[in-house]
């Protein structure tokens, strides 16, 4: 049973998530520099690139577009990191989360859905065709990932017979859910990428549409949107640890160390794996999601339900 962390954790949470996001973005920058191969043997020097880019954006003037709806767009932009941090509130570090409500799993899902609405809003705001194209690419993406994602979440909650994240972790004391719910785990990882519109699911911010939903944003606006995306990636990937990888359970090391290790492993896998795949286009992916992933996750949920009833 997880406890609630002390009050200072509330203050610490955004900073901890931001630090993790910077580290992950730095790792990605190193991989990108290695692939680019500009200066052979020195890709490590690209590690601070996200920080540099952040400084550059901080010093920039925000942009206006003709007949846009800047406030609506800014609400959308701000919602991305806010939703990520709110979702992160139920993320247990070791066995303690900032808060552990009875319906933690549903809360997490609701906050992600908020990010879904936010990106569309960000794309709509600037009154630019390419930016709107990016915005509704994310809507299409949501239609593709949201259902399998919910079923994966449900499966984990079903296995623990509780919607409380702490009890989901407690339910994995002996055996990780990833072991006996592999399909749900894999689908969760896929949808974590899709939700953070990152990796092969970066179509909403695709280069082909000149940056998609982010195409018209400069300065702080852009920084908040892009940083919010990394936060979302960290939080969604981090949530796979309490849901499927046993949370803080593990031998020898303290619980927080296990959480950190497992989260780092999942993030490393996702960031490195991205480089192997081209961007998924939703008009091709959505059918796969609905005709393959949804039935598969349903079968997985059925199997888990039978196990739960029999034990």
């Amino acid at each position: 049973m997880a406890d609630t962390a002390p009050v200072w954790a509330v203050v610490l949470l955004p900073f901890a998530l931001a630090a993790a996001a910077v580290l992950v973005a730095g790792f990605d920058a190193v991989l990108a520099a290695a692939a680019e191969g500009g200066r052979p043997g020195r890709p490590l020097r690209a590690a601070p690139a996200p920080l540099r880019a952040g400084l550059r954006l901080l010093g920039q003037q925000p942009r206006r577009t003709t007949a846009g709806d800047p406030w609506l767009g800014r609400i959308g932009i701000a919602l991305v990191p806010v939703a990520a941090v709110l979702a992160g509130a139920v993320l247990p570090w070791g066995f303690r989360a900032v808060t552990d409500p009875v319906v933690g799993v549903v809360w997490f899902n609701a906050m992600e859905a908020l990010a879904w609405a936010a990106v569309w809003l960000a794309g709509w705001g600037p009154n630019s065709a390419l930016s709107l194209v990016g915005g509704y690419r994310f809507l299409a993406q949501g239609l593709a990932y949201e259902l399998p994602h919910m079923l994966a979440l449900t499966t984990a909650a079903l296995g623990a017979e509780s919607l409380r994240v702490g009890e989901v972790v407690a339910g994995q004391r002996g055996l990780w859910f990833a072991v006996w719910m592999p399909v749900a785990f894999a689908v969760f990882l896929l949808s974590a990428l899709a939700m953070a519109f990152w990796g092969p699911f970066d179509h909403p911010l695709g280069r082909d549409a000149a940056g998609g939903a982010a195409a018209e944003y400069a300065g702080v606006d852009r920084l908040v949107l892009l940083a919010g995306r990394w936060l979302l990636l960290v939080v969604t990937a981090g949530f796979s640890v309490p849901l499927f990888l046993g949370g803080g359970h593990g031998p020898w090391l303290p619980a927080w160390a296990w959480t950190l290790l497992k989260t780092a492993a999942v993030l490393g896998l996702l960031v490195a794996g991205r480089r192997l795949l081209p961007t998924l286009r939703m008009e091709r992916y959505v059918e796969f999601a609905w005709t393959v992933l949804v039935p598969l996750t349903l079968l997985q949920a059925l199997a888990v339900a039978i196990v739960v009833l029999e034990r």
Binding site: D69, L72, V102, V103, A117, G125, Y136, L139, Y285, V286
Partner: protein
């Protein structure tokens, strides 16, 4: 006292942004004003102690408004709602209908003989809700679910312009459907 503060903090924006839906002349603003209103209602439901229902209201309404945006985009390629538009149609009729409904509901609230509370709320309302739905009301829920699903399928069948004969040929023998966009999953 804090409970009262929370109530008013949620209730006032809920009503205000609900009213703004009819004041804004941009589809996106109207949609998101409605979303804000519904999020506040979700918060109120949580305040009643029904955590699960409240969070589900937040979740479902957010997704619903995002879906509404899909339709918005489908019907107008008009970024940022450049074109001012009215969210009010058939003003007089609508006013009459809404006034009548309001009076009816308000009268119901005031005049109904509300029973006094007996017993205590369940320790775990989520569990109680689940047991109620899956226990005594199982038949109702199953019927409802099936009816809803049938409605969705029937609506799609009626709405779609191209049936399977258009897609797979008169003898349904075509290997690949004649769709404007090639689908992703192999058949």
């Amino acid at each position: 006292m804090p409970d009262d503060v929370v109530f008013w903090v949620l209730a006032v924006p809920a009503v205000a942004s609900g009213a703004m839906v009819f004041r804004y002349d941009s589809m996106a603003r109207a949609t998101y004003a409605l979303l804000l209103s519904l999020l506040c209602v979700g918060g109120l439901v949580i305040r009643l102690g029904l955590d699960y229902l409240g969070v589900v209201v937040i979740l479902m309404m957010t997704i619903e408004m995002a879906l509404m945006a899909v339709f918005m985009v489908m019907f107008m390629m008009n970024p940022a709602g450049l074109l001012p538009m009215s969210m009010v149609h058939n003003k007089r009729g609508a006013a009459a209908v809404s006034a009548a409904v309001f009076v009816l509901l308000a009268a119901g609230i005031v005049l109904a003989p509300w029973p006094g509370r007996r017993g205590k709320p369940d320790a775990d309302p989520t569990m109680a809700l689940g047991e109620s739905l899956m226990g005594p009301h199982m038949l109702t829920m199953m019927t409802l679910g099936l009816a809803l699903f049938t409605t969705i399928v029937a609506t799609v069948v009626l709405a779609t312009g191209r049936g399977r004969y258009d897609r797979f040929g008169d003898d349904l023998c075509a290997r690949r459907p004649a769709d404007p966009v090639r689908p992703g999953a192999r058949r």
